[in-house]
Symmetry: C2
Subunit: 201 residues, 2 copies
Amino acid sequence: MVELLVASNNPKKLAELEAVLAEAGIAGIELVAPADVAAYPEPVENGLTFRDNALIKARAGAAATGLPCVADDSGLAVAAMGGMPGILSARWAGRHGDDVANNALLLAQMEDIELRDAAFVSCCALATPGGEEFSVEGRWEGRLLRRPRGAGGFGYDPIFEPLGEGGRSAAELTAEEKNAVSHRGRALRELAVHIAELKNR
Amino acid sequence: MVELLVASNNPKKLAELEAVLAEAGIAGIELVAPADVAAYPEPVENGLTFRDNALIKARAGAAATGLPCVADDSGLAVAAMGGMPGILSARWAGRHGDDVANNALLLAQMEDIELRDAAFVSCCALATPGGEEFSVEGRWEGRLLRRPRGAGGFGYDPIFEPLGEGGRSAAELTAEEKNAVSHRGRALRELAVHIAELKNR
């Protein structure tokens, strides 16, 4: 059994990776949450891209624990806003993780703007204690709604309408539907190939 | 005397243009404020660039009053934020013109980001009732501070440190110093040439 640290305090992300690995038929990987590890430091995410930040977190996790580590950095890129909230998505309204405030602020900022094109973007990175690094990026195209809809998901899901989902918001999809098409699902499935190789070291 | 509508409710902008025209030795232009004109409509600023919005305002003013009209759209473009707050500068925190909230939000968003490069950008546009349009853009390079400093100016001036001003914030310059080097000062001086020609129609 190979232990793999998932550098996120969000249990949904660990479950999502678990599902992706099962679906890909990848066995023999035991996912470890930060809470299970004695000394896991939260690094400052001061990168300028999703990739920067995903690698910062994956490296920090691997260095602190001696385990290979997976991390992701994700966000909503709004075309009319030069790709913002982007890497600042989680703290858009100024306080980390306040989804309601983040959604309300973004809708207020975009009130007069007709161009609603937006995409969820995720970079997933894998770093090993030996210094190997892999990173892959997934995108999920759609448009920004004018009011929140749906109770599922998290983050900007209630105000994001993905293309090809019958006009539903991301928060109106089931977890399975979302994982099958979402930015992070896509990136994780690509990263799974590299995760599977950890067993051959 | 040629009447020229200045499409702004900010009396400082009218005074700034007045100073620029005087300095350039351009006489015979009488600046008119929206408050002086019976039916001045506030158009929706739904453009995607400073130029779009400056032209939207200048056109609306000329169409509604039959006077040539000058308008500007300005904002702070932060490099690490893909050029935002940009066209959304005035309503960044969600409510139009709340400078204190806008500054506080931007500093909170940028707290972990080392790259502080930023520029004030202004597009000034002139539209005539006959359908002529001119637009020019001015930039003022600098960097984002970590705390507000100074009591002058307005908008993001307290958290912007222009290059070449001895480390002072834009809010620590006198109005004359600021107009001599600022984004809007530069754009207005370029536009003055076209304003002077209004007398030859």
